[in-house]
């Protein structure tokens, strides 16, 4: 570049508007689910009483829990529809190297990354999605389906106990709670830390909100994808 004029940095679209919208909706829905659900489960705690008071009682907490569940699972459904659209209409690949589909390469990447942390090996050349991003995505995608299923058992126990033995309701109660704790721990600790608290991106990664990433960032984070463009 011969001119010294400051050019706006070259940007790439990393997330489409639909993906950004779904992320914001799931963010709101998931946080709402966590707050209302835990306030119901740990209702003897002082903070649970506070949230219950805020919305006007346990009944309203339960209503809002279902409301947020519908929002969150609606996003999962829209996402599944989009996957079909992507595969059938846009003829995209949902298992290719630039997709979120888990591959053997991801495990290799992970070991190489660990080696890099201890100064033994070079940083792996990540593709569009790194192994921890794929893990985050799959954990939520599969988790939301199992949470949705156990949640439906608890929402309509009369209906499901006509199809299944009654102890499935008890199973659903246990699984719904423990998976909720797992999901909340994963999302609010691991997901937020691995996205925002990496040294190269600290303090905040805005690409899921504005959908954009720069060439420089691509070179650092997803060199494999940059090569394939």
């Amino acid at each position: 570049m011969t001119t010294q004029e400051k050019q706006p940095p070259e940007t790439f679209v990393r997330f489409s508007p639909l993906q950004r919208l779904l992320h914001v909706a799931v963010m709101i829905g998931f946080t709402g689910l966590a707050i209302t659900g835990f306030s119901l489960k740990f209702s003897d705690q002082w903070w649970a009483g506070g949230f219950a008071w805020l919305v006007g009682g346990a009944g309203h907490l339960a209503y809002l829990h279902r409301f947020f569940a519908v929002i969150t699972y609606g996003c999962v459904l829209v996402h599944i529809l989009w996957l079909f659209y992507f595969k059938l209409v846009l003829k995209g690949s949902i298992t290719g190297p630039q997709s979120l589909f888990p591959k053997v390469q991801d495990i290799k990447d992970m070991f190489q990354h660990m080696g890099y942390f201890f100064g033994k090996r070079r940083i792996p050349r990540f593709n569009r999605f790194t192994y921890w991003e794929k893990f985050d995505y799959l954990a939520l995608f599969l988790g939301m389906n199992t949470m949705g299923l156990t949640g439906l058992f608890l929402w309509f126990p009369e209906f499901f106990s006509t199809l299944l033995p009654g102890y499935f309701i008890n199973l659903a109660q246990v699984l719904h709670l423990y998976e909720a704790i797992l999901a909340v721990a994963l999302k609010f600790v691991v997901h937020i830390l691995t996205t925002h608290l990496r040294p190269e991106i600290f303090p905040v990664d805005k690409s899921i909100f504005n959908g954009k990433t720069t060439r420089e960032k691509m070179m650092h984070e997803h060199p494999g994808e940059l090569d394939s463009l």
Binding site: P17, G56, G211
Partner: protein
């Protein structure tokens, strides 16, 4: 100099001292008044503790536990103990009371309770006012202390807020309109003036719909419509609180036409090129959504908010053009917008907290606030329509062109509101709403007085008025994306796009 400084210091000190005294005084006064207030409240509370024992029993030898058993009715054991206590008398044949010189049986078969839905509920949990010395119930069973109005499903309860739960849910099929409490209640006597056992605890199987015919028959005495009308359709959300039901094929047709019309309009918008893209719909939608996203999450957002407030809601451009046109347009537009926003608010409130008093007020057409708001919105819209008609057909200024499309839109809205008022008047008349409740319907109530001069059987006519209003409403909704009312979507969009172009 020194003196002056000393003086100044003294003055400062004095100011500080005064301020300190002032604060101390305020503190002292507030402590005094707080303790006085506490004392008054305490003494008032102390006076309020009613003697639980009736004066008759005081001083007499009584086994405390004979009356004062208070089992924990939250447990099954407690609920059974409570039932046993009541059934001590109430399972005997001799348990009767006299109403209108007729003996009414108060006998309860314990087996019925065992089999019923309320087997694990203590009697006094619903009959909250019977466990006392003058042993009689004024309130009846309190269903609503446990059950919300139909679990929040608004299909049925909005028109039935003046109907006691028991009127539909118990097997006895005789009901009457109690003028005193202004409620439809289960009757004490049947059509042959024979008393009915008041303790008929068997609950009606509400899957069978025939209990509606207790009231909704020809020449009923409780002021119900002759025909069972469907619940308000979801498309009525434009002006009414609604439930998530469609109500009938008419509304389905209207709704499908509305959706088709909106889709066709959006499809039409995407016919043109978007940022140079001519063919691929996928890329066009992508460009548009990217642009919308970029605008919302930027500083332009506040400018757009301003545009929406000034140009869309307050109609600034129309005001600049002509005050008269702005006035007429606002008379029609603002009440519709307000009523629509209120319906959306009501929809969510009545789902989140169906038992809350706010939800009940918002749903109840006879509550003072809603009656007043509905009538006010209606009369403003009607005034706007009349002024627009005057402008178009009588005054006819040269710049006003009365297009057939516009006239149809105005006619539809006017007819809708007029039929709405007629239905309101007929409803107030036939349900025999007392004046103190009807007062707030400042159009509907006088109209009902006017209608009462006729000799028409309004319970028979009301369904036709209701259907006329509903069908005009359905036509209005179906017509939205096709005719003149399309400008409700187009104009704000054009304004926003114009802004974006700038």
């Amino acid at each position: 100099m020194r003196n002056e400084r000393q003086h100044h210091k003294n003055r400062n000190n004095m100011g500080k001292r005064l301020m300190g005294q002032f604060i101390k005084g305020i503190l002292f006064l507030s402590i005094c008044s707080a303790s006085l207030l506490t004392f008054f409240i305490w003494s008032a509370e102390a006076n309020q503790t009613n003697p639980m024992m009736p004066p008759l029993l005081e001083g007499k030898a009584r086994d405390c536990l004979e009356c004062h058993r208070y089992p924990n009715v939250e447990t099954n054991a407690g609920a059974f103990a409570s039932q046993v206590f009541c059934l001590e008398c109430h399972q005997k044949d001799s348990c009767t009371k006299t109403v209108h010189k007729e003996k009414v049986s108060l006998k309860i078969d314990p087996e019925d309770i065992r089999k019923g839905r309320h087997a694990f509920v203590g009697c006094i949990q619903c009959h909250t006012d019977v466990a006392r010395s003058p042993h009689q119930s004024k309130e009846g069973a309190q269903c609503l202390s446990c059950h919300p109005f139909h679990n929040g499903a608004g299909e049925i309860h909005a028109p039935h807020l003046r109907v006691r739960c028991q009127a539909c849910h118990t097997v006895s099929k005789f009901v009457y309109l109690d003028k005193e409490s202004n409620e439809v209640r289960p009757a004490h006597t049947n059509d042959k003036k024979m008393p009915i056992g008041l303790t008929d605890h068997a609950l009606q199987d509400t899957d069978r719909a025939d209990f509606c015919q207790r009231c909704h028959t020809q020449e009923n005495k409780v002021g119900a419509a002759d025909i069972i009308l469907p619940s308000k359709s979801f498309i009525c959300i434009m002006c009414h609180d609604v439930s998530l039901t469609m109500g009938g094929p008419v509304f389905w047709v209207a709704f499908i036409l509305l959706v088709i019309g909106i889709l066709a309009t959006v499809h039409f918008w995407f016919q043109g090129s978007v940022q140079g893209e001519e063919k691929s719909m996928h890329r066009k939608i992508g460009f548009v959504s990217e642009s919308i996203w970029g605008t919302i999450f930027s500083s332009d957002f506040f400018t757009i908010l301003k545009t929406i407030l000034l140009d869309v809601i307050l109609q600034r451009r129309l005001l600049q053009e002509s005050v008269k046109r702005w006035f007429i347009h606002s008379l029609i537009f603002l009440p519709i917008l307000f009523r629509f926003l209120l319906s959306v608010f009501t929809f969510f409130v009545s789902r989140i907290g169906p038992e809350s008093s706010l939800a009940v007020i918002l749903i109840d057409k006879n509550s003072g606030f809603m009656a007043f708001v509905n009538d006010l919105c209606g009369i403003l819209i009607l005034l706007g329509i009349v002024l627009a008609a005057l402008q178009r057909f009588i005054i006819k200024p040269p710049h006003v062109i009365a297009e057939a499309k516009d006239n149809l839109a105005l006619l539809l809205i006017g007819l809708l509101v007029f039929l709405g008022f007629l239905a309101e008047g007929a409803r107030i008349l036939m349900t025999q709403l007392p004046p103190e409740a009807g007062l707030y319907s400042f159009i509907g109530y006088p109209l009902s007085g006017f209608l009462s001069l006729t000799t028409i059987q309004w319970t028979a006519v009301y369904p036709y008025i209701w259907w006329a209003h509903a069908v005009v409403g359905a036509i209005f909704v179906a017509y939205l994306p096709f005719g003149k009312m399309r400008h409700m979507f187009n104009t704000p969009l054009t304004l926003l796009l114009n802004y974006k172009m700038k």
